[in-house]
């Protein structure tokens, strides 16, 4: 799965993961430092307070005396709502303060401040204690002064700082993720541009992709171009082969047909003339079938990857009418063209082929000296090219059947046809999201075939 996931998403996820890790780390560090700083501040104040009390120790009439200076406690009051305790002892003897305060009884050098953490009265406290020798009479007495304070203020401060740090980290994370998404998209843009350039191409456009690409994409681009080159070559080869094959088959057929026409000029016996006509008909039949089979194959191939160019049906209709006018004139059939602009999205070659098949059909099945009307119309959503003839109609064969492969109608006696024309037209229209409508012409015996396509 991971191999096929989008590179952009993977890159973004990776960068986001790194950002998350950094955010958590920085949050942890800032919280830790904040707590340390708060604790150190408390320690300093406690030490100062304990030292200040210790400074007031003196001996008076064989007793140790001390004063609790106001400043010693006002310093401590600065830190939140915490409760303050003290404890003064001379050696093992408790002198004043809170007797139960869990003081340190480690040996220590006078003047140095020792710190400890303990519990008192159900609350966590921080204790600073300092010793000072006091001469009582001639005997030096070691007096220890301990000042303790609960830690809720410190906790509150460090929690507050930690909360701020968390907010900052989240903000950092969001910014980092946004930036990584932008970075991923920016660095993938050349790749997307190449993909777009290839995707926008028509089905038969196999020219090499000439585009500035970052060097990381150069190998991909050059192998893509080599592939296109090979594909173009193989298509060219198969097209050449089809052309060559058609040429080899149709040239002798043309010779046969021409010779038969020449023979018809000099032959008078009616049964021989009839035989020559049969030859000509058979040649026409085979060449027509071969042509339409080829067309059918081309259509099937082009429909697979349909071009979506802007095509004006009016232009195509005019072209088809011009191309088939001589054919129609041979039967004294007049082609009437009425157009209005009707733009659709599609493959001009295929649409041309579809219309030509329909029009060719109409000419083939129309009697001499009639009209075929070709009208291009566009309403709100659909473009229509209707081809209406004055022929004998569809007979009793359902219209849907006529679109089937090799299916021919009932009024086809004596007319050369392969039964593929309407199939091709119908396939082309379906590929374009349209349809081929077949029905009787209004107010006449004829047939109307309509190519219906969604408007552009």
């Amino acid at each position: 799965m991971t191999r096929t996931r989008s590179i952009g998403r993977r890159l973004t996820l990776l960068l986001a993961g790194v950002a998350a890790l950094l955010s958590i780390l920085s949050w942890g560090m800032v919280s830790g430092l904040a707590r340390q700083a708060a604790e150190r501040t408390q320690d300093n104040v406690l030490a100062a307070s304990a030292t200040a009390i210790a400074e007031t120790l003196r001996s008076e009439q064989g007793e140790v005396r001390l004063e609790l200076p106001y400043s010693a406690f006002s310093m401590l009051g600065a830190i939140g709502e915490d409760r303050v305790f003290y404890h003064v002892a001379a050696g093992e003897e408790f002198l004043t303060g809170y007797a139960n305060l869990p003081v340190l009884d480690r040996p220590r050098a006078p003047g140095t401040v020792l710190f400890d953490t303990g519990t008192f009265d159900g609350e966590e406290i921080r204790i600073a204690s300092v010793t000072r020798p006091v001469l009582v009479g001639a005997e030096p007495l070691t007096v220890s002064v301990s000042v303790a304070q609960t830690r809720s203020g410190v906790g509150a401060i460090s929690r507050e700082l930690s909360r701020l740090a968390a907010l900052l980290s989240v903000a950092f994370f969001i910014v980092a993720v946004t930036l990584s998404a932008i970075a991923a998209r920016t660095s993938l843009r050349p790749l997307n541009e190449i993909a777009d350039a290839v995707a926008r191409r028509g089905p038969s456009d196999l020219r090499p992709v000439k585009r500035e690409a970052p060097e990381e994409l150069a190998p991909l681009l050059s192998s893509l171009n080599r592939l296109m080159e090979r594909l173009a070559q193989s298509i060219r080869r198969s097209e050449d082969f089809i052309a060559e094959a058609a040429h080899r088959v149709r040239t002798p057929l043309a010779t046969v047909r021409t010779q038969a026409e020449i023979a018809l000029r000099s032959v008078e016996a009616s049964d021989e003339r009839q035989r020559l006509r049969h030859i000509i008909r058979a040649v026409d039949e085979s060449s027509r079938s071969a042509g339409q089979l080829l067309d059918h194959a081309t259509v099937a191939y082009r429909v697979e990857d349909l071009a979506r160019d802007s095509v004006d049906l009016a232009d195509i209709s005019a072209r088809c009418v011009a191309a088939l006018e001589p054919t129609a004139a041979m039967k004294e059939i007049r082609l009437i063209l009425r157009t209005e602009p009707a733009k659709v999205a599609g493959d001009a070659v295929l649409l041309d082929n579809a219309l030509r098949n329909v029009l060719d059909n109409a000419i083939k099945y129309s009697p001499e000296d009639t009209l075929i009307t070709l009208a291009v119309t566009a309403d709100a959503a659909e473009a229509r090219v209707s081809v209406c003839d004055e022929g004998p109609g569809l007979g009793d064969c359902p219209a849907e059947h006529l679109k089937e492969r090799f299916r021919r109608g009932t009024h086809t006696e004596g007319i050369v046809g392969s039964g593929l024309g309407l199939t091709i037209a119908s396939d082309v229209l379906r590929a374009h999201g349209g349809r081929l409508d077949l029905g009787p012409a209004e107010g006449g015996t004829g047939t109307c075939a309509a190519l219906v396509l969604p408007l552009l």
């Binding site: 060559e244 043309a254 047909r257 018809l264 042509g291 080829l294």
Partner: protein, 222 residues
Amino acid sequence: MRYLLVEDNQELAEAVVKRLVLDGHAVDHAASLDEAEACLSAADYDLILLDVMLPDGDGRDFLARSRAHLETPVIVLTARSQVSDRVGALDQGADDYITKPFDFSELEARCRAVLRRRGGSARNEIALGRAVFDPFAGTLRLGKSLIELRNREIRLLEVFARHPGQILSKGQLLDRLFSYDSAVTENAIEVYVGRLRRRIDGTGVRIETVRGLGYRMETEDP
């Protein structure tokens, strides 16, 4: 009318030449693009029939190359009915194309359409008695009046005009006028000959019925 046929298949070329000569046209045959160039520099042609696959190159490349200085209309003979091929031929300067094997009536119809589009040329006009017949424009000019003929009338008149004094059987006329798959009888010829007689009334030529044999066009005695 003078054709240049560029076709490398000897048998087809011979047949086409013979067939066009039967219709009273002059045809030169070139078997390669080189020969075609030589013919074009030596003579003027009304129309070029160009095969696409030739031994010394593609006919379409020849078209693209020579279109700039070549004024003669070109009809491409293609072996493929594939649309892309047709469109390609037209894009490269062909006036029209026709798929092998082709019907000579259709070829004529296409030549006529091409020459009409190109404005035709006066040397293809045929004098018919006191009138002048232009088979490409489909008109018959008699003094100041211009008669427009219909398609089959043009073709029928052209057949008669190119074979003056010759007896043409109904069967022959039928083959020239109708495609080989249409189920018409020789009576249809009588209808068209009747129409044509009315059209050429007063021109000084007439179509006689030769009992049991067919028809013949004759110039009236003055």
